[in-house]
Every structure is written in structure tokens, then in C-alpha cells.
């Protein structure tokens, strides 16, 4: 039956394709005209063909994913109401951002036993509070997302000190073996301007500090939190490359894991102008997360259009085999392999240098991220990197201002820190202050 489609026409090789392009170029240079160099040191070719097919064996991912809404707890009552409202709309996971301990009974009123996954992020590490929370939610699926190394990188300090922080984690793991206690906050590096290779490599090296301390089996209790940027196919490949590499690293610990990935849109490329642009960017980033194989995709701002798009996407992809979408795709498979190769080299260098914590203390990781961020910022400032309605294509009648962003990076902190903290920074931040 299948030659019904092929009996009238001849197939062509990639060489024939290239020749055709060169003919159409009419003397112009192929490399200069058609190849796109990215900040990752990867070249996007004008076409990909089965002749040059290359892939790595990315582990399959389950078909279903969770749609999640992130909710900041300002008061337990309002957070509870928002949670009830988004569940009504169709999300099946919630992430609560808590800066301080909260009242369980109020926050979780009418939220329990509904097959909702609960994710948290805490601004502090209180072992007793978390023990109580785990006990209270013992019949629910929990992701606590405690990342003491991530907190160290972000704030420059341990919650308490190195030993106490690790001891708290150890205690929590012992008493709550079913809960997902730890996380690796890779999103911090993305939001601070690290490129995709760095993000994948740092995620591995960061995780390996936990493996080194607690053993490889702790991988089953770690969630990986990624921020998704705007380079659509690269972001799909980023998640796939990480899922492959984490299992490669875990071979050293004689274990494997179905890597739970929590993905949310980045803030790095978001602007406070143009509501529709914001929604479009976030929504295509959801899609990268979904196709890349994330377990949970979160709408990390209170924005109804983004939420509706996420819910629509969940419905749209519910009947599809996610692994089948990317499997065999010339472009994504090639990107996945290239990202994995490059990230593995960086990971090995970090390990050779004494590991991620050591390089954080030396300031090397911060310096590397800063180099990448500066390069990207320069591209933005000169217009080589475009954000529509921000640095380019601005319309005069767009006066709407979006208020989704933390103002932390503009306020100066005078706390003494052990290491230089890694700060998230939006590309358009400075431009918008003018």
C-alpha cells in the first residue's frame, strides 16, 4: 500500500538537496547565508534529511503529563480560593510558593482527596514545619522541592549551614520515604542567562552533589525544575538530552530513573509590554515542555489566557504518544545528541574541578553564567536578539504594563553572603526602567 505514495516520484538524497540550494543561491555563500549559529555553539542547518540521521537512545516518557498552576501564598484564604478556581478549570497539579509557614487547614480546605499533585517551594527550611506538612498530606502526592544547593546558589548562603542543611534533608528523607523531598532548580540558571548546554551540565553536576551525598537512589526523590526559553526545538531537545544524560550519570551508581521534570516558562525573555506576546511566548514554551517529555507543566503567573492554553494543550496531547512525536525526527534527534555531547563535556570538567559545590564556592559557575548572560544581553541591546514589542517592533499604542515580575533584582541586598549569589535577570529589565 505504501508505494501508492511513492510510485510517481523519485526520492532525493541530501546531496541533491544541497546542490539544489546552491543553484538557487546563485553564487552566494552557503555557510554564510543559510547556517544559523546559536549561543550554544550549535549550527542550525537549512534542512535535515534521513541520510544524516543521528540519535541517542532517550528513555521513553509516559504519555500523560500534569497541568499545573503556580500560586503565591499571600494569605491562605486567597490561595485556597485561587486553587479551587483553577482546579475547576481543569488543572490537576498545584504549586504553592510559600515564603513562611502557613496554616494547612485553611490552605487545603476542599483540596484533598481529589487526585491533585501538590508541589511547593519554600523560602525557608523548617524541618518541623515540613514534617507536619508531610504528615498532614500523607495521602497525597507531594513534591516538596527543597533544594539546599539551589538555595545556596541563589541566595549565596545556606539556610542554616552546610551540615545542618544536609542533616535536615536526611531526616526528612528518612521519615517520609514516599515523598519527593528534593529538587534541582535548573530554572535559576536559565533565568540568570545560562545557555542550554550550561543548564543541562549544571543540572547534572548539581544533582550529582546530592547523589554523592545520599547515593544514586536518591534520584527517585528528586524533581528537576526547568525553565523553558524561546528557542522552541532546542528547548524540546534540552529536556530530552537531560533525560538521557541523567541516566547515563546514574549508571555510575548502578541505577536508573524515570526523570520527573517540572517545566515552566522562563521569565528571561518576557517583557512587561504586550499581553498577547506574553501569552504566546508562554504557550509555545508549554509546548516545548510537553513535547520534550516533562511530567508537569506549570503556568507560573496568574494569567487566565495562559492557563486556558495549557489546559487546551493537555486535551490536545492527551491522545498522543509523546515519545513517538520526537522519535525519529531528524532535527530534534540531532539537536538532542549535540546538546548531550556538549553538556557531558562541561559536566566532566566540573567533576574534574572538584564538583559543582566546589566551583560555586570558587565563583566559576557564576562567572560562566555571567559570561553567557552578558553575551545575550549585548545581543538584546544591539537588536541581534529580538523581543517583539520590547526592543523591536514596538507599537506606540501599547501602553499596557504587565506586573508578573519580582522586583528583587533591582533592590540591593546588603546581607553578607558566603558565595556570589546567582541572580535571575530579564533581558528587558533595564530597557523598561528607562
Amino acid at each position: 500500500m505504501s508505494n501508492l505514495l511513492t510510485n510517481d516520484f523519485q526520492p532525493s538524497s541530501s546531496t541533491a538537496w544541497k546542490q539544489k540550494i546552491q543553484f538557487e543561491l546563485n553564487g552566494a555563500d552557503y555557510n554564510k547565508t543559510l547556517l544559523t549559529q546559536t549561543n550554544e555553539g550549535i549550527t542550525i542547518k537549512p534542512f535535515y534529511h534521513s541520510d544524516n540521521f543521528e540519535k541517542i537512545m532517550v528513555p521513553a516518557t509516559k504519555n500523560n503529563f500534569n497541568s499545573c498552576q503556580t500560586i503565591k501564598i499571600t494569605t491562605e484564604e486567597t490561595a485556597n480560593l485561587e486553587a479551587l478556581s483553577v482546579i475547576e478549570k481543569g488543572v490537576n497539579a498545584l504549586k504553592f510558593d510559600a515564603l513562611k509557614p502557613f496554616d494547612f487547614n485553611t490552605l487545603f480546605q476542599n483540596l484533598l482527596h481529589k487526585n491533585i499533585e501538590f508541589h511547593f517551594s519554600f523560602g525557608l527550611l523548617s524541618e518541623s514545619f515540613i514534617q507536619e506538612l508531610c504528615a498532614f498530606l500523607n495521602a497525597e502526592t507531594l513534591y516538596l522541592n527543597i533544594d539546599i544547593i539551589g538555595n545556596f546558589a541563589q541566595t549565596g548562603n545556606w539556610f542554616s549551614n552546610f551540615n545542618n542543611d544536609f542533616k535536615s534533608i536526611e531526616q526528612l528523607i528518612q521519615t517520609n520515604p514516599a515523598a519527593n523531598i528534593l529538587s534541582v532548580n535548573v530554572g535559576l540558571y536559565q533565568n540568570a542567562g545560562a545557555n542550554i548546554i550550561q543548564q543541562v551540565a549544571y543540572a547534572l553536576a548539581h544533582a550529582n552533589e546530592y547523589f554523592n551525598k545520599f547515593g544514586g537512589n536518591i534520584a527517585n526523590n528528586i524533581q528537576f525544575n526547568f525553565a523553558i526559553g524561546n528557542n522552541y526545538f532546542f528547548e524540546i531537545a534540552k529536556i530530552r538530552a537531560f533525560r538521557y544524560l541523567l541516566n547515563l550519570v546514574l549508571t555510575a551508581y548502578q541505577t536508573t530513573v524515570d526523570v520527573p521534570i517540572f517545566a515552566e516558562p522562563s521569565f528571561r525573555n518576557k517583557s512587561s509590554h504586550c499581553y498577547n506576546c506574553f501569552v504566546q511566548r508562554a504557550s509555545t514554551e508549554f509546548m516545548s515542555g510537553i513535547i520534550g517529555g516533562a511530567h508537569t507543566i506549570s503556568n507560573n503567573v496568574t494569567n487566565k489566557s495562559c492557563l486556558q492554553n495549557l489546559i487546551n494543550l493537555k486535551e490536545e496531547f492527551s491522545t498522543k504518544n509523546r515519545s513517538e512525536i520526537t522519535e525519529g525526527n531528524y532535527y530534534i534527534e540531532s539537536l538532542t545528541k549535540q546538546i548531550a555531547e556538549k553538556a557531558l563535556i562541561v559536566f566532566k570538567e566540573i567533576e574534574k574541578g572538584g564538583g559543582f559545590l566546589q566551583l560555586l564556592k570558587e565563583g566559576t559557575i557564576q562567572r560562566k553564567i555571567n559570561e553567557s548572560a552578558q553575551k545575550e544581553q549585548h545581543q538584546f541591546n544591539t537588536g541581534a536578539l529580538v523581543l517583539v514589542e520590547s526592543n523591536t517592533y514596538t507599537s506606540k499604542n501599547d501602553t499596557e504594563k504587565l506586573d508578573y515580575f519580582n522586583k528583587t533584582s533591582t533592590t540591593k541586598t546588603y546581607r553578607k553572603t558566603v558565595i556570589i549569589p546567582i541572580k535571575a535577570k530579564r533581558l528587558a529589565e533595564k530597557l523598561e526602567q528607562k
Binding site: D8, K20, S50, N230, V388
Partner: protein, 382 residues
Amino acid sequence: MKRKDFSDLSIQAQHEKISYFEHEDFIAGVPPYTRGLNATTVLKKQLTIQLLVNFSSPVKSNTFIKENTDYKSIILEINTLPTINSGIYISSIEDMKLLLNELPLHKLSITLSTKNSILIVLGLFIAASKQLGFKEETLNLSVNYNYKNALINSNFYFNTIETILTYSTKNLPKFKTLSISAIQPNLKSSIENELAFFLAETYENLNNCILHGVLVDAVASKISFNYNISGDHLLEISKMRAARLLWAKMIHLLKPKQQYSFALQIHSTENFSNYHKVFSAILGGAQRIISNKNTFLIFENETHITKTIDPWAGSTFIEKTTEEISIKAWTLFEKILSKGGFSQITAQENLKIEKVKDNSFQLIIEAAKNNATIEELNSIVF
């Protein structure tokens, strides 16, 4: 714990595909164009974004076009019946002249769209532009067509497409495309129905053109597929790939000599306010859609998705779906042919099949110039 040594860790690359489909090795830029009309996305501008104009007042629509000079391609949704409340209401050549007043018609790419008789709308447009001082040979014109445009009082004028193709071949050298939608109310809405009926309808009209002495190469490339896009992103990408493959296969039956006859352009007249459909249109390789500019600009400038051609190629899901859609639609197309073709099938839907007379369209243009009413114009054809 002693730190593990990762220095020997290495990546095992593979070069074998798990799934392989025979049509995967067709490339872009040559028939059957499954992977796209152009060999790269970089050398030729891939997608045109159109401005939809549909204020019921011709004067207001005219002002709107003048306010949006950054759009070089516009679509005029025209309504010739006072009872319908959508589209620019045009009751005579005078209304059409108000709509086109002081517009640089020779510089704009204009698409005409209507739910009424397309011959009358096109006739009024040509007559008005002539009276405004534009010669036919300068008009950069496209026309949208669906079955309603050939349907009056339960009579189906089967040769409407042929009439437009024949006229434009002789008189409108810069005529761009007749964009055909084959969605019919009596048909179950499915991808294979949409594609098979599109193929059957265009096949019949092209055959008639050939019978009347027009070369297939003179008309085939003037037809484009006006597609109906659903919310399923990956399915739509597969459908557009299948549509190009099937068109090339259908055209092959008519033995054209020119390669460009095998290339199917894909358009949509839906208003893509949603990012999601624009996304499908770009990755499926469409040529013309209606959208707001920012939506396309973000995709083009921020996401890198236009840096490589047909980026979804090779994907098991996409290739499998492309193949399934193609086989189902082609099988149905052959079934329609075996039952006597498009008009015969349409006749079974309780429609009377009628023919637009040979010189009717010229008569419409002449009558329009003399300020004929819509009713008077109708009586010429029908």
C-alpha cells in the same frame, strides 16, 4: 562517599531509524513537495500575513486599509446581499469604487472573498478598478472559492472555477491564485473528505479547462488549497504535508510539462487570532494566512522555528500521520472519480447542476460598468 569518576562516560550515538516511511526521502523544492515548496525557508519569504477587511461600510473599510499601510496583502470579505450582516456590503459598482477609492491597487495584493456569487464580486471589482484607472494587467488578484460561491437557488454552477481560470489566463496576467475550499455542508467534516473533495473538484475543473484548449500548465499553478484548520497542531502539520503530496500526485495524472504545476500553495481565510493556528501554518509550510503581525513576528524572530525547513520531518508521529491521511484521501478521491467525478457526486445532494454560459462573465463586467444592480447581474449568469 568518594566522588565517582565520570571521565570514561561516553555517549552512544545511533544512525538507524526505528520507523521509516518510504515518502520520507522526498525533499523540499521538487515534486511532490511533501516537505515544502521551497528548498529552504531562508531564500524565499515563506508566509504572507494578510489583513482582513470586513467593515460593512465600504468607506469605513477603505479608511481601515489606508490606516494599515504596513500590510501589502489584504483580503476583502464582500457581501452583496442586504440580508447578510457580515462583510463589506456592496450593492453596485459605486459601492465598490468607494471601497477601492485612492488605493494603490497595482501595489497591493488583494484577495476577494464572499459567501455570495464570486463571479459577480469579481466582475464588480474588475469593472470598478478599470473605472478607477487601473488596467487589468496590473491587478495582483486572488480569489477565494467555496461551493457556496457557485450555488444559487439550489443550482450548482459546476464550471465557476473553470470560468475564473479561463478568464484570468486571458486577461489577468498577474492573477495569483484561486484558493479553493472543498468543505461542503453535506459532508462529514474530516481531513480525508476535505482533501479528497478538493482534489476531485480541482481535477474536474482542470480537465474541463484542458478539454476547452487551455494547457494544464497555464492554470494548475493558479489553484491553491484554502484549508480548514483544526486545533490539533501536529495533525494540521501532517495534513499540509499530505495535501502537497496528493496534489502533485493528482496533477501527475494530467501530464503537465512544468515543474511548478506540481507545487500546491496553501492558504487559509480563517482569522488566526490564536497563536496556535499560526504556529501550525508556519510549521506546515503554508503560504498565506490572516493574522495579526506580532504573532507571526514572535515566531519568526524569537523561536528559531523558521531557520530550517520542515523541521518536523522524520518524526514517527508526523510521518505516520502524513502517510495515513494521504492514503485515505487518495483512496476516497479515486472512489469519487469512479462514481463519475465531483459534479456527479454533488448532483446526488439534491442540487441541480447548471453551466455558466461562455461569455457570461464578460457580460457581468460590462453590465457592472453600467451600474447594474446585483439582481440584474444575477440574471446574466443564472
